[in-house]
Amino acid sequence: MITRALLTDDRTGKWFLAIVLGLAVVVPLLHLAVPPSSPFHISTATLALLGKYLCFALLALSLDLVWGYCGILSLGHGAFFALGGYAMGMYLMRQIGTRGVYAHPVLPDFMVFLNWKELPWYWYGFENAWFAFLMVMAVPGLLAFVFGWFAFRSRVTGVYLSIITQALTYALMLAFFRNDMGFGGNNGLTDFKDILGFPVQANATRAALFAASAVALALGYLVARAIVASRLGKVLVSIRDAESRTRFLGYRVEHYKTFVFTVSAIMAGIAGALYVPQVGIINPSEFTPANSIEVVIWVAVGGRGTLAGAALGAVLVNFAKTTFTTGFLAPYWLFMLGALFVLVTIWLPKGILGTLYDFWARRRPAEKSAAKSETVPQPAE
């Protein structure tokens, strides 16, 4: 099997997949089958929280694919996440039907409120789950493709590229805040009822959404791993380390970058789509530039260019965020996050997993394969 061939050289990957898929089974079981009186029971709130972490892990993985392996420091990945989320939100809105406050059979509440008479054309088709799920991937993918095509063809790199990705998410945020855009303005999309015919709030649905997030993360890992382990993945690393050298070997760098950027945006979109039904809302604040910057911190903490590390970083940082933003330390969270980033950059430049790989490589120099693919000198950018 391809999966097996992929993982023969990837010990971390085996562990990662085992854990993620294990969670996909165990967590829903602990939620549904274990009575609330038991200490092993997982509450609805915890389940939703864990599901959210997995979506963030997939988002971090997608960023690591472009940043860690191709040196594209995107500060706008939150935009692709949010677009996937909006596509899912539109589907969920269309499922409400007459159960809305205004009980309009077609128009979502906010459109009735704005006195709109008919559905805007870009909402067509979103009542259909397959169409909506396709859009979850197509919208972020297409935006990334067009954006990448122009940016990479014009050879925008480094800081300049980071800045325009940041501008991209900022522009989208402003656009989505506008009521006349038809996406619910600053309230966004919420009050969801059903997904695929099941009530979104039901325990079983929540458990299924959690399992789906875990499976999506596992699949995202396999896709990313297949890419970085291929010869194309080696070209990506070459571009990261010596872009013009790669061109002089005859590789059309802009095509490679556009490809990986698009794949990554699609992954981010899927993460956003799974996130929305679990948190119950999508609004323009998801496009906030700071969100995209946070994703970079997750990846840096977990280990840039390690895939599994990015996912780990997302979970750890968000766990810390949940812990610290609820107590008396809440006002200081952003300072802590900033400090964390600075400390990691100084003391753990390779992140948690990168540092562990180095440690193992030093302890067991005989095992070359791990050292070969994983402890690579990484350029600072």
Binding site: D241, A242, G250, R252
Partner: protein, 259 residues
């Protein structure tokens, strides 16, 4: 202005593989290349010498598409206009380049560096699915052998010594199997023995019907190559011909050799 001395140079009627005519490149008004004209015949090896800042590297930049000339013609292989193509397209036409400062992919193994350089389909969709073929594996072995890096194949290129990196880069050039090799200061930082071996290797490559343009300051090395020499100065050709003729040229001695 060009002093064409009859040497072992190819017959004048041979169509040239590379043809530069009246090429000018200015950086903020400063002419790095000034009406440069040069022709390289198929299978020819040419050594380029000249003082620092003469425009040797800039010439290679122009040929490989890194720098667009302000004026002038750059034609390759029966009239392909290189000034209209980008770096990747030019590389795929069969022009390979070794940089003045060795540039290898430091976080790849020696083996992967060569594998990525091997001639082949460079389109992303093909490269995504590419598996190392038996033919590629054979070429890889051969090149590792020639570059003397067989024992280092699994090491990260970033861990190689300076000389080894130079050789790896030459190996990558071989892997590309280009029609024209542009080699910028290949022996800088090499020991005498390594320098000799490099000269021998370049001669072998050109004997195998590749055209080679070598830029080098090391006159002993240039002499060892034993080929036609072009001396550049202030962006144009100062003298051209056999090494002995060029090195006796009073202008060449004045601006370059006699320093």
């Amino acid at each position: 202005m060009t002093t064409l001395v009859p040497t072992d140079a190819p017959a004048p009627l041979t169509p040239s593989l590379l043809y530069l005519d009246g090429v000018t490149v200015s950086f903020d008004g400063f002419r790095a290349l000034n009406e440069l004209s040069l022709q390289i015949a198929p299978g020819e090896m040419r050594a380029i010498i000249g003082p620092n800042g003469a425009g040797k590297t800039t010439m290679m930049d122009v040929i490989t598409g890194k720098t667009r000339p302000d004026t002038g013609e750059v034609l390759f292989d029966r009239g392909v206009d290189l000034t209209r193509l980008d770096e990747a397209a030019i590389a795929n036409l069969g022009i390979g380049r070794k940089f003045q400062k060795p540039t290898v992919f430091e976080s790849h193994t020696v083996e992967d560096n060569i594998l990525l350089a091997l001639k082949g389909d460079r389109r992303a969709r093909h490269v995504l699915m590419a598996r190392t073929s038996a033919e590629e594996a054979r070429r890889l072995e051969e090149i590792l052998e020639i570059a003397g890096l067989s024992a280092q194949r699994e090491r990260l290129a970033g861990l190689l010594s300076h000389g080894q990196k130079q050789w790896l880069e030459i190996g990558m050039l071989l892997a590309q199997d280009p029609k024209l090799l542009l080699v910028d200061e290949p022996v800088a930082g090499m020991t005498d023995a390594e320098t000799e071996a490099t000269a021998a290797l370049l001669k072998r490559i050109s004997a195998a019907d590749h055209s080679v343009v070598v830029v080098e300051h090391d006159m002993a090395f240039v002499r060892a190559l034993g080929v036609k020499v072009t001396c550049l100065h202030e962006g144009s050709v100062l003298a051209e011909g056999a090494i002995d003729t060029v090195s006796e040229n009073p202008r060449v001695i004045e601006v370059y050799l006699g320093r």
